[in-house]
Structures are given as C-alpha cells and as structure tokens.
Symmetry: C2
Subunit: 248 residues, 2 copies
C-alpha cells in the first residue's frame, strides 16, 4: 500500500487522454499552450483524501485518470456522496476559497492541476474555458437532478440498477468498446461507497446486488465485475424509461 509511485509524468497536452472532454476541450493551440504553462500533475493513491471539506483550496483541476468521489459528511458520521469524478471531470470552483466537500481518491488517480489565481485570471481572458466550464457544470447539474430522483423516490433495487446503468453508460461513452452482446462493467466502488452514493446501508446494497444476480438481471465475476446480459432489462429494473438507453 505504501508504494511511492510519485514520479511526475510530464506530459504534453497534445497526447492528454482527456484533451477533448475536460475544461480545456475548446481551447485553441495558443490557449492550450498558456494552460500548459501553468499546469502541474499530482498523483494520489487509492484511499487518499485529496481535499477535506472546509480546507483552503489553492488549486483547481481535472481528473486525468482514475476515479474520485465528492462526499458530504454530517457531524454524526452519516455520509452522502454528491459526485462521482471520472476522467475529465473538474474539481474545485473558481472564485471559491474553501472546499465545500471532501474529495477522496477511490482508485489511484492523476490530476492535472492549476493554481487557482492564474487559472481564474486566464478564465477571465479566455471565453473558451468559461464556456466549456459552463457546459460541464450544466451537465453536472443535470446529473445531480437525475440523482435526486434516484435518492428521493426509487426503491433500493431500483437504486442499484440505476447505479449500474449509469456506470455502464459512462463506460460506453468513453470506451466505445465492443457494442452488441452482453456488457461487462467494472464497478469502481466498494459496497460502502455505493451505499453512500445511493443513500442506503452497505448491507442493503449487498442484498440487492445478490437479488439482481439471483434474478438474472446481472451476473458477477469476482466482487466488482458485472455482466449485463440485457441492458433494457436493467433499465426496466431501474425504473427508467427504457428509451433513454445507449445510443443505438
């Protein structure tokens, strides 16, 4: 666990895996070069806390590889995940000095960071960045609202099915690997993290996953790898309109 994989990965924006999805997606070559000048990479190990809620935040940045979570915690320890950060997702809020949520690395991650001040200045001069950030924020708001429906109105079984469906969709959006036939998805979360995401207990998560497996909606290989023989069946179990599925 304590392996020091802190080698810096100096990288050119040109071969960046998230070049076309992150805040910089719309930037012209010259703008990109300026960003290139103020960026630096940071690595975090699985389980590490990137930022504590309430801490001063002197940077913003993008997840380049790996998965992180945004969570809120009440005084008595109840926790709710409020965001799942996949590659290209943005962390931090320009114009805000203190973190509003805990950010935790769920897997080993690499982040592309910018010191807040220079980034804000650059944003003021570069509409392409602000435009892209607005677009991404609107997408996140939509995702948050969909999640409010899940949290407020769905049953435990529907919640699990919804989570698997969402992860499967995002995987598909990125990887575009072998369409047709059964999907295979890696759940990047522990049962406890899923529970925090879904407003459930980890016992209930476990029971409902077992139930979906028993009923043939999914099958498991190990604890984390899920096979989905029929995606529409899964959407049905999630209580979603079955037309909202993958692009055909």
């Amino acid at each position: 666990m304590l392996n020091e994989t802190n080698l810096e990965i100096p990288q050119d924006c040109g071969d960046c895996p998230i070049r076309h999805r992150a805040v910089c997606a719309r930037c012209e070559p010259d703008e990109l070069e300026m960003l290139d000048g103020i960026k630096y990479y940071r690595r975090f190990q699985a389980g590490q806390t990137v930022i504590w809620s309430g801490d001063r935040m002197d940077f913003v940045g993008s997840v380049v590889t790996g998965i992180a979570t945004l969570t809120q915690t009440m005084e008595d320890g109840r926790r709710q995940m409020v965001g799942l950060l996949l590659p290209s997702d943005f962390v931090g809020r320009p114009g805000r000095a203190f973190a509003a949520y805990d950010v935790v690395a769920t897997s080993d991650i690499v982040m592309c960071c910018f010191r807040k001040k220079p980034f804000e200045e650059m944003m003021a001069r570069t509409p392409h960045i602000a435009q892209r950030l607005l677009e991404m924020t609107l997408d996140e708001l939509d995702a948050a609202r969909e999640w409010m429906l899940v949290l407020g109105r769905k049953t435990a079984r529907e919640k699990i099915a919804s989570l698997i469906a969402i992860i499967a969709r995002r995987d598909a959006a990125i990887g575009m690997k072998g369409r047709r036939g059964p999907l295979v998805v890696d759940l990047p979360l522990t049962r406890e993290a899923m529970a925090d995401y879904l407003g459930l207990t980890l016992e209930t998560v476990s029971r409902q996953i077992s139930a979906l497996k028993r009923d043939g909606v999914i099958s498991l290989e190990g604890k984390r790898r899920v096979t989905i023989p029929d995606f529409n069946r899964l959407l049905d179990e999630a209580g979603d309109d079955s037309d909202g599925g993958l692009p055909a």
Copy 2:
C-alpha cells in the same frame, strides 16, 4: 380561477426587481439595452404548467415574481422536485432544444423571457451574461448537492426542518426584513409539493410539521405561515452545523 390577468407589464430593466440577481446582473447599460430589445414578459397562473418535460423549448428566461418548481416524474407517477425557482432564478438551458423537466407555477408568476436563438447569439458575444450564468449554475449545483444529502441521509423530521430553514434563509437573503427576534416565514408550497421536494408522502410531511409544532420548534398561523422562535434550534433539528446559519 379563470380571471384573465394577462395584461402585459411593459417594464424598464432599470426598475426590474431582479436586476441585480438575474442573468443580466453583470450587464453594462448598453448590454442591458440589447437584452431589453429581445425580452418579453409572460404571466402564468398558480397551478399552470409553464413547460412539459420533453417539449420543444424555444425560450429561456428568469422568474421575476412568484414561485415555480422543477419536477421529474416517473412513468408510474412518482414525482421528485429537483428545483425550486424563486425570483431571479433562470429557466432553460442554452443549447438544449427540449425541456428536461416539468416547470410548474406554484403561485402566479411573471417571467422575463428571451427567445432562445437571439439569447444564445447574444451570450456568445457578451461574456458578462455567460459569466453570470456560470456563477448561478454553480450555485444551483451546490444547492442540488446539499439537497442530495437531505434526500439520501436525513430523517423525515430533519427533512422538514431543513426545508423550513432553507426557505427562511432565502427569504432573509432577499427581504432583509426585521432581523432579531422570531422569524416569520411563508411556506410557498402545499404539503404535497413539500413531499415531492423531500422524497416523502404528504401524510408524513403533515405529521412531522405537527410534531415540530408540538415540540415548540415552530408555530403555525394558518397552514402556511410559520414562526420560528429560535433559528438555531431549527438548524439543530435539521441536523445542520449550527454555524452555517444566517449571517450574525
């Protein structure tokens, strides 16, 4: 109910009550004048649906007066409110052709609308608008995330206390009326709408309000008017850090 109060209220942006909080907040006089040229007002009566989810949306706009809600509905009728639109809040998403949620007028409302196309064009040329919209969207995202904690982890009693606290805070932010002493707040929502907001049934909402009254946390005058003798007590019941309250 069918009184035709459809008189247009031609209004100058200069005396607009939401001039300094809406999308136009940052605009310079000349920019404001351009907006003025493409705006028009629409009124809706309490209970009227402004937009149905899935409908083509050819305008965006701001709530000027009154209250509206954003809700999502599942096929079987389960409903979740995902936004509460108060004066100055923005409706619609630039770049999106179809509404993602139902928008319903909870009280009589006046909206300041812009046809989508001209507004988008103007946004591209006017960074002040895009900047303000980004800021507002980030605020909404924060609100949505706070709401995810409420939906996912709070008890029914805490949910009700949270809702009252939030409405009290927003009222205070706008009105800045008589600080000190017991707050008086009008709940702009029916019990059913509160239930849709909180992921509860209306019966549970009613019971919990009665319980908070019985325990002296609030008192009621009629069904909608709430008096809060001790705001910190209310925050406590909401499960919030009691320091997050009103500015002292």
